[in-house]
């Protein structure tokens, strides 16, 4: 079995690392660089930075944060929030981003995914989907950090995104996000088991059992954690030890 990636997710507003519940009620956690460095040193496999207000203001403001991260942190960095053009992507790659996550603007202009994948390669383009459950087996995609409803069916949109050239899906359950009550395994499984590209499950980690479930039942290729790391409920090294003990492969020599 492949190594499952453990990713620290950093939602950013202005200069601050923040965290909400259901992507709302955002609270300031601290300095992004301080937390990112800690997660790198503890063995995180990747970092994801999301500018939570970028779509609102029409631009991504993470360049300085990404540049200082990439100067001292030598693992893959995914950056998203407010990405609208090829130039937006180019400028973030120049300061050290490895992959770019696109949500809101891709729903309005799906050809951006295609254009970006052709230009930078699929491995560089992550389709970010914030999923809200409507009824069992049916989810719709939210945009603008959960503020707007695109009306698009998540499973259809994920499939279309892959066809257009997205190389990975960052799948956030808005219902579970920040609640620490477990991942939406049905959602993750519905996307991960039908697409030939990796799916990063995000939203809901509260216990080690939750993580095991989303990997074993949800078939997640990677998991993005925020709440449990920011509030120091678990350390990345503890989580990895426990996962390996439960028969899940993870990189463990990263410290």
């Amino acid at each position: 079995m492949h190594n499952v990636r453990l990713i620290a997710r950093l939602d950013i507003k202005g200069p601050n690392l923040i965290k909400g519940v259901h992507l709302e009620g955002l609270r300031v956690i601290g300095s992004p660089q301080e937390y990112a460095t800690k997660y790198y040193q503890m063995g995180a496999d990747e970092l994801i930075y999301l500018d939570t207000v970028a779509s609102l203001y029409g631009r991504n403001n993470l360049h300085e944060i990404v540049k200082s991260a990439a100067s001292n942190i030598f693992i893959p960095l995914t950056v998203g929030g407010g990405i609208r053009t090829i130039d937006d992507i180019t400028s973030l790659l120049r300061v050290g981003a490895d992959k770019i996550a696109i949500n809101t603007f891709a729903t309005k202009q799906p050809s951006l995914l295609q254009e970006a994948a052709q230009r930078f390669g699929s491995q560089c383009i992550v389709l970010s989907i914030a999923a809200k459950k409507i009824h069992p087996g049916k989810w719709i995609a939210l945009t603008d950090n959960g503020r707007e409803n695109s009306g698009m069916d998540v499973l259809e949109w994920a499939h279309q995104g892959w066809k257009l050239g997205a190389g990975e899906i960052l799948l956030t359950s808005v219902d579970q996000e920040g609640t620490a009550s477990g991942f939406d395994c049905d959602l993750v499984n519905a996307v991960a088991s039908t697409l030939p590209i990796p799916v990063i499950a995000s939203g809901g980690m509260g216990t080690i059992d939750h993580l095991e479930a989303v990997i074993k039942c949800g078939k997640a290729d990677a998991v993005a954690l925020a709440h449990v790391l920011h509030y120091n409920k678990f350390t990345i090294s503890d989580i990895k030890h426990e996962m390996i003990a439960r028969g899940i492969n993870m990189r463990s020599d990263g410290k």
């Binding site: 190594n3 693992i75 020599d253």
Partner: protein, 215 residues
């Protein structure tokens, strides 16, 4: 102070590669000038994207021959990811395209099905283990860029194509994906090619960078 020249042929992000060498106080020169490339103390060929675009990028800047001549001068050379694939004779990516020919062999697509005939995910993305190549049992990692690393150390891969050297003795380390061995590091004399990104492989990747500076 160690000096490293990074070849700039118009593709993406050189920032992280440069930073990884600067982490060990190397002096970085980013250049597309054939004279500077030929005179380099250590040469790095990074790469992301399509094989033919990258080779065209070298040709359009008249740096193909300089990189080839440099490689014959017994000085350290490191190809990273696509840069490693470009060290081979040719690639099958979007038609057949000539590479730098520093190591004999071809670059082939990773099959969409694994060794058991089941479909699996391509590109190969994520952390995977460095292994002693089964086809090159005499290999030693001492006195190479892998000095001091243990077998099964994880490094970060992102690729859909894989080089297959004609001579197994050019395989320094493999990894296994979908039940098949794929080259993780190829080498000949002072020339090294890493399929993974040492600059994105955490402390272990930095160790490889440090070793390259010590060659």
């Amino acid at each position: 102070m160690k000096s490293v020249t990074i070849i700039d042929y118009g593709i993406g992000n050189l920032f992280s590669v440069a930073r990884a060498f600067e982490f060990f106080d190397a002096k970085i020169q980013i250049s597309d000038d054939p004279k500077i490339i030929l005179a380099a103390e250590r040469l790095v060929l990074p790469g992301v994207g399509a094989f033919s675009d990258a080779m065209n990028g070298l040709c359009n800047r008249n740096i193909t021959a300089a990189a080839q001549r440099y490689a014959e001068m017994q000085r350290p050379f490191l190809g990273i990811c696509l840069g490693m694939q470009m060290m081979m004779d040719e690639s099958d990516e979007f038609g057949t395209h000539k590479g730098l020919g520093l190591i004999k062999g071809r670059v082939e697509k990773i099959p969409d099905i694994d060794a058991d005939g089941k479909s699996h995910k391509v590109p190969h993305v994520g952390w995977n283990n460095l292994l002693f190549p089964q086809t090159n049992t005499a290999v030693h990692w001492e006195n190479t860029v892998l000095k001091g690393l243990e077998e099964k150390t994880s490094v970060y891969f992102v690729h859909s194509f894989t080089p297959v050297p004609d001579n197994p003795q050019n395989r320094l380390a493999d990894t296994v994906y979908g039940g098949r061995s794929v080259s993780a590091i190829i080498y000949r004399d002072y020339l090294y090619g890493c399929q993974f990104h040492p600059e994105k492989s955490g402390p272990m990747g930095l160790k490889i960078i440090k070793n390259f500076l010590a060659i």
